[in-house]
């Protein structure tokens, strides 16, 4: 089976201005949104407390909130998480030293309200509670997850996360410059920054929570998008050496077209698994999968419409790609319109 019967002849690079308009709009919207709305940082970055609970019967966030208030826990944000039995309680970061105690207080307050206390049970099953009337049974309130991040940690992560991206980009810049040529390295990094900004932009516009796994996904997107770009670059380098005729624009166009089936195919297989993660991976992995989904789509687009045109505009010429400059006849063909 094939997508394209033979090598396509799309004029991808000729259409670069149109693509750049699109990119410019997306980038402007992303940067604008990042500047105005910012990212909806999760507690990994802001600090705070998060408690996920599962009720055996359906739960009522309003009742949960008032129970917590009675127990002296103010400012709790209570909402459903996934189903009507799952409850997510969020507490803002508190300067109080006992901030780490808050999560335990939440769970025990809700259990007291449900008339039960935790008892030690076996591993792997539901948590066992003792009811006030006596007898051990499955807890009405099941503690599924607690995350508490102190303000010290949150601030560090934001800084470290930014640095991680910077290091990844620098490492890649060096490797590509070493293996290809500096214009390719710059082209690749432009495409990566483009992908990262737009992915972050979508998270900002849709106000999807930006957590630590999402950051990991964004870094994986850098890896993926680069993978795509490198394959195209590799073909460009190959064709520069192989094809005697044709302008730089034509050679690049041909290279992008030749690698097009592969670009599409790998995107398809990757999207297959990313969609699987999104649909079957559960709530915690959702943000991660969304970031990958956006990133894979944008990364595929950018390796065709952003990376190679950037190299072209940076003024790559045939001699730049030859091991030793030896022939000069048709070497000036880089002055693309």
């Amino acid at each position: 089976m094939r997508i394209f019967k033979q090598v396509t002849r799309f004029d991808f690079l000729g259409k670069r201005r149109g693509a750049w308009m699109l990119s410019a709009v997306l980038l402007a919207a992303s940067i604008g949104s990042l500047g105005v709305r910012g990212l909806n940082f999760g507690i990994d970055f802001t600090g705070g407390t998060l408690v996920e609970l599962e009720y055996l019967q359906s739960a009522d966030p309003v009742a949960v909130r008032s129970t917590l208030k009675e127990a002296g826990i103010e400012d709790a944000i209570v909402q459903y998480f996934g189903t009507s039995r799952d409850i997510l309680v969020r507490l803002p970061v508190s300067a109080d030293k006992a901030a780490s105690e808050q999560s335990s207080d939440v769970v025990s307050a809700l259990r007291i309200a449900a008339g039960e206390t935790l008892t030690e049970g076996a591993q792997g099953g539901l948590q066992q509670c003792t009811a006030t009337g006596g007898g051990v049974k499955d807890c009405q309130v099941q503690m599924r997850r607690v995350e508490f991040v102190g303000p010290q940690v949150g601030g560090e992560l934001t800084e470290k996360g930014g640095l991680a991206m910077l290091y990844a980009l620098i490492g890649i810049l060096i490797y590509v410059a070493f293996r290809f040529e500096w214009r390719f390295a710059v082209g690749a990094v432009i495409a990566l920054v483009h992908d990262v900004l737009i992915t972050l932009g979508v998270f900002s516009v849709l106000a999807i929570e930006f957590s630590l796994p999402v950051l990991a996904a964004v870094l994986a997107v850098i890896g993926y998008s680069l993978n795509d770009t490198i394959v195209v670059f590799d073909r460009i380098r190959d064709n520069f050496r192989k094809m005697r005729k044709g302008s730089v624009l034509q050679i690049m166009n041909r290279s992008v077209n030749e690698t097009l089936p592969r670009t599409v195919l790998t995107s398809v297989t990757t999207l297959l698994v990313v969609l699987t993660l999104l649909l079957a991976g559960g709530e915690i992995i959702k943000g991660f999968a969304i970031a990958l989904l956006i990133g894979v789509l944008i990364g595929t687009y950018s390796s065709i419409f952003v990376a190679s045109p950037a190299v072209l505009v940076l003024g790559i010429s045939r001699e730049d790609m030859l091991p030793v400059a030896k022939e000069g006849a048709e070497a000036e063909g880089d002055s693309a319109p």
Partner: protein
């Protein structure tokens, strides 16, 4: 011959695949409920204890599947969780102190696999459930306390050197200010302090008047102090974690001021926090040698004295008056005595401790001084038969105890001061344990929980299920797609992909790297991206065929020319993964690990394995067309 795989390449493939399959094998067996017993405070269990446990189990007639003893302790395997819980309560009640009893899940893989070192993957807390704490040692307080000690030291040093001073006090902005009576004594004071207290950097204060000196902790002293505060807390936390009954607890320093505590399977986080936050203390007391121990044991305890016990239950009569406490111990370390060659524990006291020590030991040469370790902990209440008592709601009842153990009671040989040694220890190990205990009891810098991640057992299981399902669904979708798109070659790619999964699992199992939920996501992502190498190769082969090459030449050129592209593309992804690893905390690291492993193994399977298969089917014969 073209497209022939030499025997040594087959050998290489076998060398990776066969052990890969072997080490991946333990993962398909699942877990059994079990109990793990370890020696308390890092002690080891031997044949004697093994016998004791076995007897205890047999006496009650509890059925268990198997029981084994190894370096990590005694493991007992049960058929049901009910039996496991019963046995835990029973063992806690019957066994003497000195055991740490923990519920755990034991891998159900056959013994010969674990004997050969093949263990299942090590699951992170987000998959198995449990508590992760990150604690930060309050170094500011540690430093303030050190400065307080130095203030006392400075006063006594100056007094001894007969240098008159108006005041020595900690400065609000950090450091110590020393105000002398007159500026004439400055030179001498500087000289004396530099000689006696090398841990201080002392200078004439340039802001105030001439007779004022300012002292700060030396860089090395601060480093030492922080290191010490961290170690001390790690030791203390290890001891307390023991009591929680956790099978595989992790207490580890992270960076220069943080400690990671991981407690798999723990559900009651409130109790865990309570126990971790507790402090132990040490008290030094004189042994009462005027009165007879026998008489005291017989009920005639003299007023002012009390019977205490060593950890091995030996009784000893101590005078109740506390001479000085663990707060006064600045450092304790194990070493070898240069003269006798025997193991010793050397102890350093602060100024207050030193002064008291000097006074008391001077008067009591030849007598014994005891070190008492005090900690509050809870134990299970037992009835007359030694079985655990339950309240009317069926809960095991616990009582709060004040644990008081005499660590050591050496004879005072000489008048002691700031630094002294405890000799006559049996082994270097004993010296080290003693030093640890002395330090653990002394007042460590306080710790604070700055991060908590707890995953309940049901969510852990749900995460495993969802992760497994994602891997399977993603895998099958890619298999179907590749089959349809590349026919026979797709089949080869699929074989490679399946082997890749096996290899990833095998490498994770061998490294015992922590598999987290993002790690599972990394595996899923790898499944999608790993076929990229095959797509690159196959598309090249198709191009070659289209250009009119023969099938054999197309295969050859296709593999050859795709290689450098694959390597370039994968190395750049690897760079991103390595950055991720270095940056990452727990779960993110897991993602970076599986992604990196997946990239490396996929290069092997997608290039080498598929090539061997292609060669096997097409190589060395006349082929009209390829099923690609």
């Amino acid at each position: 011959m073209r497209n022939h795989t030499p025997w040594w390449k087959w050998l290489i493939i076998a060398v990776f695949i066969v052990p890969g399959a072997f080490y991946a094998l333990p993962n398909i067996f699942g877990d059994d409920p079990g109990i793990q017993l370890r020696g308390a405070r890092g002690g080891s269990l031997g044949a004697e204890q093994f016998q004791q446990v076995q007897t205890a189990l047999d006496e009650v007639g509890l059925a268990y599947d198997s029981i084994s003893l190894d370096d990590s302790g005694i493991r007992i395997r049960f058929g049901t969780t009910d039996a496991q819980l019963q046995a835990r309560d029973m063992l806690e009640a019957r066994l003497p102190t000195g055991y740490t009893i923990a519920l755990t899940l034991l891998p159900a893989a056959p013994q010969w696999l674990s004997n050969a070192g093949a263990l299942p993957m090590y699951l992170g807390l987000d998959l198995r459930g449990g508590v992760h704490f990150l604690l930060e040692v309050d170094m500011a307080t540690a430093q303030r306390r050190a400065e307080d000690r130095y203030v006392a030291d400075l006063r006594s040093t100056l007094r001894e050197a007969k240098i008159r001073y108006r005041g020595v006090a900690r400065d609000g902005s950090g450091g110590i200010k020393i105000t002398l009576r007159s500026a004439d004594a400055v030179e001498e004071a500087l000289k004396t302090i530099r000689k006696e207290l090398p841990g201080l950097v002392v200078n004439a204060d340039d802001t105030g008047s001439d007779e004022v000196l300012s002292a700060n902790l030396a860089e090395t002293e601060i480093d030492q102090l922080f290191k010490f505060a961290l170690e001390q807390n790690v030791t203390a936390l290890r001891n307390r974690v023991d009591e929680l009954g956790v099978a595989e607890p992790v207490v580890q320093r992270q960076g220069d001021r943080r400690i990671v505590v991981q407690l798999p399977g723990v559900q009651d986080t409130a109790r865990a926090k309570r126990i971790l936050g507790r402090t132990a203390t040490l008290e030094m007391m004189m042994v009462d040698e005027e009165h007879s121990l026998e008489a005291a044991l017989g009920g005639k305890v003299p007023p002012g004295s009390k019977i205490y016990r060593f950890r091995d239950e030996r009784p000893i009569l101590l005078e109740k008056r506390v001479i000085y406490s663990g707060e006064n111990i600045v450092d304790a370390a194990a070493s070898i005595d240069t003269q006798s060659g025997g193991p010793i524990a050397s102890i350093t006291l602060d100024a207050i401790g030193a002064r008291i020590n000097q006074k008391v030991t001077g008067k009591n040469i030849g007598k014994r001084m005891a070190v008492l370790y005090i900690e509050n902990r809870s134990t299970i209440r037992t009835d007359a038969d030694g079985l655990p008592m339950k309240d009317d709601q069926g809960r095991v009842m616990r009582t709060q105890h004040r644990i008081e153990e005499v660590i050591t009671a050496p004879v005072i040989r000489d008048q002691l001061g700031k630094r002294f040694q405890i000799e006559g220890l049996d082994s270097v190990d004993e010296a080290r344990d003693l030093a640890l205990m002395l330090r653990a009891g002394s007042l460590a810098a306080p710790v604070e929980i700055i991060e908590e991640r707890t995953v309940g057992p049901s969510l852990g299981q749900a995460n495993i299920n969802q992760g497994f399902r994602s891997v399977m669904v993603g895998f099958i979708l890619v298999l179907i797609f590749m089959m349809i798109y590349y026919r026979v070659f797709g089949l080869f790619a699929n074989v490679a992909l399946a082997l890749n999964l096996v290899l990833i699992v095998a490498v994770l199992s061998v490294l015992q790297a922590t598999l987290t939920l993002p790690g599972v996501a990394g595996i899923v992502l790898t499944v999608g991206m790993a076929v990229d190498a095959n797509v690159l190769i196959f598309e090249r082969i198709r191009e070659e065929i289209q250009n009119g090459s023969t099938p054999q030449a197309s295969i050859h050129t296709g593999y050859q020319r795709a290689l450098s592209t694959i390597v370039d593309a994968n190395i750049t992804t690897l760079i991103a993964a390595i950055v991720l690893f270095n940056f990452g905390t727990g779960p993110i690291k897991g993602f970076a690990v599986t992604l990196s492993i997946g990239i490396i193994t996929s290069m092997f399977t997608a290039i080498v394995v598929t090539r061997a298969l292609v060669n096997y089917l097409y190589g060395g014969k006349r082929v009209k067309s390829l099923a690609i």
